[in-house]
């Protein structure tokens, strides 16, 4: 009897696999009109982070009904952050699936790198999109993701600049570089920290570039020798800073959300965000005090882009491409950039747009608590090769947390 069951299970687990593989790659040879037509009546499963009601409202109240109306597509939104996306696709590939549960993914550099590592993304496809002509691919911050050319494997959706946020009530003149930060913290200990996740590590990367004497010195592939030299200097600096950090640097906020909470209550005078618009967003939610301001310090902070990607095993690539083409349309990007709606940075080159849209974009309400993006761009730093983040995160543990 037991043997029967064992056989049954073996059969179930290794025996039955779906073998139908629709050759969706063929779609890439078709003209765009045919792609849009083929997408009509289909369902697109988009997995994205759903932790912000403003973003959820933008998707549910604007994007979902619009793509239904314009293209007859049912856009379904699945909740999941970067690591869930990676785990879901990884498991599908491991299980030998030929059809993915997902058709579209909202990803950023870290996830993009991991998905490329496991070869889970479909592409290149972005040059098929008619609206891709407006994308500012000449901007290296958009065309390159973690020093890797995106090569049409993901479509830019929003561009954001990392910014430090401070409470101007307590900090009239925020520090503009590492030395000034150290001096400031010696006078006001415990009011600054960074988190142990993506945002904090991005901050460390920015400082590493500063230590290295500029972004150009770390450009390109990972360089072990350079990393060893410059990271050692970075740890020396951070060790000298440690006693003056929040909780004497013995612990760090586990993620940026916790750091925002500590900032909102006044326990911290600083927080930081990968999105320069976040301060406007959080003040308008009534979370941050209205004396909050964001800035990019003189030694520069990283600017990066987040993207839409299509899983290699997606069964509805035509639908996914149609949705993305709408997401990067001037109308959708215009709405998204408004801080009252979401406040996500533009990936389009306004100068390339039809004249009507150019004037529309110029009339967008100005953001209140952070300088205009054009003023910040001079201080923008590029992302480094992904290995830098992995190594910094591990060595930060060894050299700072566990000390």
């Amino acid at each position: 009897m037991i043997r029967w069951i064992a056989f049954g299970i073996l059969f179930l687990v290794w025996g039955c696999q779906s073998v139908s593989n629709k050759k969706t790659e063929e779609v890439l040879n078709q003209p765009w009109e045919k792609i849009e037509k083929a997408a009509r009546g289909s369902t697109v499963n988009l997995m994205m982070w759903t932790g912000d009601p403003l973003i959820n409202a933008y998707m549910q109240d604007f994007v979902v009904p619009e793509v239904k109306k314009r293209f007859g597509i049912d856009l379904k939104i699945a909740s999941g952050q970067g690591n869930l996306i990676v785990q879901a696709l990884l498991a599908e590939i491991q299980a030998g699936k030929t059809e993915s549960e997902l058709d579209l993914l909202w990803i950023n550099g870290e996830t993009f790198y991991q998905l490329r590592q496991i070869d889970a993304l479909f592409g290149p496809w972005t040059d098929k999109l008619p609206n891709a002509q407006y994308i500012d691919f000449s901007n290296p911050f958009i065309a390159k993701d973690f020093q890797q050319p995106v090569d049409g494997f993901e479509c830019p959706w929003g561009n954001v600049q990392m910014a430090l946020i401070y409470n101007s009530q307590y900090v009239p003149n925020p520090p503009q570089n590492r030395q000034a930060l150290a001096a400031f913290l010696k006078e006001h200990p415990g009011k600054f920290t960074f988190d142990n996740q993506f945002t904090g590590m991005t901050f460390l990367k920015s400082m590493l570039m500063d230590v290295a004497g500029g972004a150009q010195n770390l450009a390109g592939d990972f360089d072990e020798k350079k990393y060893a030299t410059y990271s050692a200097q970075l740890w020396t600096y951070l060790k000298s800073l440690k006693p003056y950090l929040w909780r004497e640097g013995k612990t760090f906020p586990e993620n940026v959300s916790v750091m925002h909470q500590l900032f909102a209550s006044g326990e911290l005078w600083f927080t930081m965000s990968n999105n320069d618009n976040e301060v406007d967003n959080k003040v308008s939610q009534g979370l941050f005090p209205s004396t909050s301001r964001a800035y990019v310090w003189d030694s520069g902070l990283i600017q990066n882009t987040h993207y839409q990607g299509i899983p290699k095993l997606s069964t509805n690539k035509v639908g996914a491409m149609t949705v993305v083409n709408f997401l990067i349309s001037p109308a959708a990007q215009f709405r998204k950039q408004n801080a009252a709606v979401w406040g996500d940075g533009l990936v389009l080159d306004v100068n390339k747009l039809p004249a009507k849209w150019q004037t529309e974009f110029q009339q967008l309400p100005k953001r209140k608590y952070v300088p205009a993006r054009a003023e910040l761009n001079a201080k923008a730093l590029p992302e480094l090769a992904p290995e830098y983040m992995i190594r910094l995160s591990e060595d930060f543990r060894k050299n700072i947390i566990e000390q």
Binding site: M1, N83, S393, R397
Partner: protein
């Protein structure tokens, strides 16, 4: 016949999913499966077992769980001693259930908002004038001793064990035994220490042990209320499983397997001890 069929269903629905899961974990830990693995290797096991992180994390988890359960047992017994009547009737009997419906993540959130340096308690103490600014408020969250984690789990477990003790008290008819002790000349204190407490302890020992293991595996609470180092076992596993370095994934499976094996060994030991003591 009916019993054999039931056992078969049990096998299919409980044991098989478990074994399939364990098989996957072991295979992954030895590099047999996994997209970024390249065939059989003991390298992941060596990496985990020879590194102090795993052992530290194990010790820290055990410390948190022991500290928590010691408090829970004492407090629950005290509540039973002091409020036995109120626990079965009246308003207290309605309120004591409430923490049972709190999931760990919500409990951790509330604990953070209450006890952190800028939390509600700190604000009250400030308004009373005991501290001049929030930096003077003691470190109860993200502290070296894991006080926040212990507090949260104590809060969630105390009602559970108070109710458990109450049930044991009634089922084992302890009240009659106590009265017997009184007639034999025992003081209330003696009766409690020599009669009530030993019975409660022995009858709920297994549940206490189980809850101990449950606290050891806590994830959300140490993540929000603990420090990055030392780290409890579940956050360590998830860090290896989901953080930036995909090549760390097999280590997550090694840690879960090693943790499981250690607990099984320990469980076997306890069982055999109980058996010999009973024999």
């Amino acid at each position: 016949m009916f019993r054999r069929a039931s056992l078969l269903v049990y096998l299919l629905l409980c044991i098989v999913p478990l074994l399939l899961g364990l098989g996957y974990v072991l295979a992954y830990s030895f590099g047999l499966i996994g997209l970024l693995n390249h065939g059989f290797t003991t390298a992941h096991w060596r990496a985990v077992l020879l590194d102090k992180t795993f052992w530290q994390s194990l010790g820290y988890s055990l410390y948190i769980a022991l500290a928590c359960m010691s408090i829970v047992v004492v407090v629950s017994a005290a509540l039973l001693a002091g409020f036995r009547k109120n626990l079965t009737q009246g308003f207290l009997s309605a309120f004591i259930y409430l923490p049972l419906t709190l999931p760990a993540i919500v409990a951790a959130f509330v604990c953070f908002q209450l006890w952190s340096k800028s939390g509600l308690i700190s604000r009250m103490v400030y308004q009373v004038g005991w501290i001049a600014n929030l930096d003077q408020f003691p470190e109860w969250i993200n502290d070296a001793w894991g006080l926040g984690i212990i507090f949260t789990h104590t809060f969630m477990a105390t009602p559970f064990f108070t109710l458990l003790f109450l049930q044991v008290y009634e089922r084992e008819k302890i009240q009659r035994l106590e009265q017997l002790a009184f007639t034999l000349g025992a003081t209330p204190r003696q009766a409690w220490l020599k009669v009530t407490a030993p019975i409660l302890w022995r009858k709920s020992f297994f549940s206490i042990l189980l809850y101990l293991v449950f606290v050891m595996g806590a994830y959300e609470t140490p993540l929000l209320l603990g420090r990055q180092s030392p780290e409890m076992i579940a956050p360590l596993i998830i860090r290896k499983l989901q953080k930036f370095n995909l090549l760390d994934m097999p280590q997550a499976y090694v840690i879960s397997a090693a943790y499981l094996l250690l607990l099984m060994g320990f469980g076997g030991l306890v069982f055999s001890k109980i058996k010999t003591r009973m024999a």
